[in-house]
Symmetry: C2
Subunit: 332 residues, 2 copies
DNA sequence: CAACAAAAATGAAACGTTTCATTTTTGGTC
DNA sequence: GACCAAAAATGAAACGTTTCATTTTTGTTG
């Protein structure tokens, strides 16, 4: 038998409305409050969230959509966001987009019909071209914030790290340590997360008056195998001083390929990644990389979202976090 | 302005009850069905899930509690379970226990008040001693199934791999390839996931009539750093033929320590892990390990849970999956 | 202790569905 | 076309809360 608010009211000898007030922390005389709280414990009463949500139109649930949870980088994001949300009394409904806009769309629609109060979204690779479902979100006044990257087609809150600066620092470090000819393996140049980093790469070269070739910048899929194959292609032609990638898993692919071909890292070729995964420090050699302040970024993301939920409706902002150059042993 | 079932009814010119039938796929004349569906699309009507859940007492939401989502092994589990659940029309509320029974308890209570239909739980390390909240779940008739491991204190559905056999196979492989003195780094021996594997380890030795020393089996925390430190302790005394661990991250810690001390893997010491993480094949050297059929296990877990949700109440079972020995280059 | 304002408590409506007992429609048969 | 059973549609109650207009209690003042 389910215990409802009516039972609590009856046994406490007060009205249903009064019990509701106690539950929601509204003013009630101290005598009655303690009496009600006592019976709540006694009966082990838990309010039915569906009934509450039906009236208040709040679910105290946030939808988080990540592209791929198998990558520990996103695992960390989920972990931190979950923790921050929990601390604020919100639950976390998880969505996985597999980096496809179509799945992002379906997930969002589902979440909306599930009445999430807000959304945190890691943008997909191909999402820029199909933003209808995001516009609809805005139109329905459901707050959302992007983390890690953003869609340029819509003004929105966004928390990301300063890719340009991170890339600039990394490239500078390489150039200043006798790596003049640096290949750069990126994702599609159309994507913000590529283009911003390419900007940083170029800046470092220009600032030093060193020339680079545009064909050193190579588009490829951002995974281990593609990085491996692309590296094979590069070393067939010539051995560069260094190879940079846009994430650590790619850097691992590069290193594996070099090793398999008898090329030493970092003696023959320096290799650098991006993200600073847990595994990157365990790798052989430990990876030089750029660390994004994920924990802080997640915290801010949640803070912004909660503020929006509370009605804050000032202009949308992009929050850029500085990232940190981590120098380990994969670069000379 | 929110579109409700009343609007659909009014515009379609039918009663609310009829629209409800259409939505829930109950028998309705074809003419009316198509008319109603048309207006549903026209108005872009989405049923309010809270109102539905309030009556049906179903939320079409499953709570999944993992110990730590930063480990890609669990990332994969979450990913697969999410996919299977989605396919069956269920949503996934995520919980993280940080391997602590107390947090598991809080999460479960929260999920219950959120009316999850069922739960999938990865047991914590210290959960065996405090099972009250699990008993309560049973008492409230909320179905749950364990994955990866189980609590012995309660009969329940459980999907796990055959650790004994996996360990046996791995140990056998080592013994049959000139590794006679095998150290085994495990988690607390009290834990099922340790004790089962130790059984397999011993079986392999006994079967071959080879003697091992009980002090080769060493308890430690199941992470990189602890494995590293423990390995330092071992090699200070003597260099064994091989070191086995209960997960791949630990094996990586062992290898790192050996390398740092100028000991070659596998030439001087063989090292083997367990889990076959994505990174294990990329590691240097690529890890010999045991792969659990995660994908199938997740599928079965979801299947069992759904069956329970549908009222199946036959005896609880432990489903043991065979695991696969993956021989790579970290063992001779 | 009467009068009154302020504070506290009440109880019914409302939220948006599903369910089910009741009514209406359909279509087959004589 | 009258009759009837079966099929379809209806409409009101119910789910467990919150909200808010109304009533009751409390406490202060002259």
């Amino acid at each position: 038998m389910k215990i409802t608010i009516k039972d609590v009211a009856r046994i406490s000898g007060v009205s249903v409305g009064t019990v509701s007030k106690v539950i929601n922390g509204k003013p009630v005389s101290e005598k009655i409050r303690s009496k009600v709280i006592e019976t709540i414990h006694e009966l082990n009463y838990k309010p039915n969230q569906h009934a509450r949500s039906l009236i208040t139109n709040k679910s105290y649930t946030i939808g988080l959509i990540v592209t791929n949870i198998t990558n520990p980088f996103f695992g960390e994001i989920v972990s931190h966001i979950k923790e921050d949300l929990e601390q604020k009394g919100y639950n976390l409904l998880l969505g996985i987009s597999r980096d496809q806009s179509s799945e992002e769309k379906v997930t969002i629609e589902n979440f909306v019909s599930r009445h999430v109060d807000g959304l945190i979204i890691v943008p997909t690779r191909d999402g820029e071209h199909e933003l209808e479902h995001i516009y609809k979100l805005r139109q329905q006044k459901i707050p959302f914030v992007f983390i890690t990257s953003q869609y340029l087609g819509i003004r929105a809150d966004c928390v990301m790290s300063d890719f340009t600066k991170g890339s600039y620092q990394l490239t500078s470090h390489l150039l200043d340590n006798e790596n003049k000819e640096i290949y750069f393996l990126t994702d599609s140049k159309e994507l913000l997360l590529s283009s911003k980093r390419i900007d940083g790469y170029r800046m470092a070269y220009m600032e030093r008056g060193i020339t680079y070739k545009e064909n050193w910048i190579i588009e490829t899929l951002p995974n281990f195998e593609s990085a491996y194959k692309t590296t094979e292609g590069i070393i067939n032609n010539q051995i560069p001083d260094a190879i940079m990638t846009i994430n650590d898993v790619m850097a691992m692919g590069v290193i594996k390929c070099l090793k398999d071909n008898g090329i030493k890292v970092p003696e023959d070729v320096s290799v650098a990644g991006y993200d600073d995964l847990l595994f990157s420090s365990m790798f052989d050699p430990p990876l030089t990389t750029v660390k994004q302040p994920i924990e802080e970024m997640c915290k801010e993301t949640v803070d912004i979202l909660i503020k929006r939920l509370q009605g804050y409706d000032k202009e949308f902002n992009v929050h850029l976090y500085p990232s940190e150059l981590i120098i380990r042993e994969s670069t000379k």
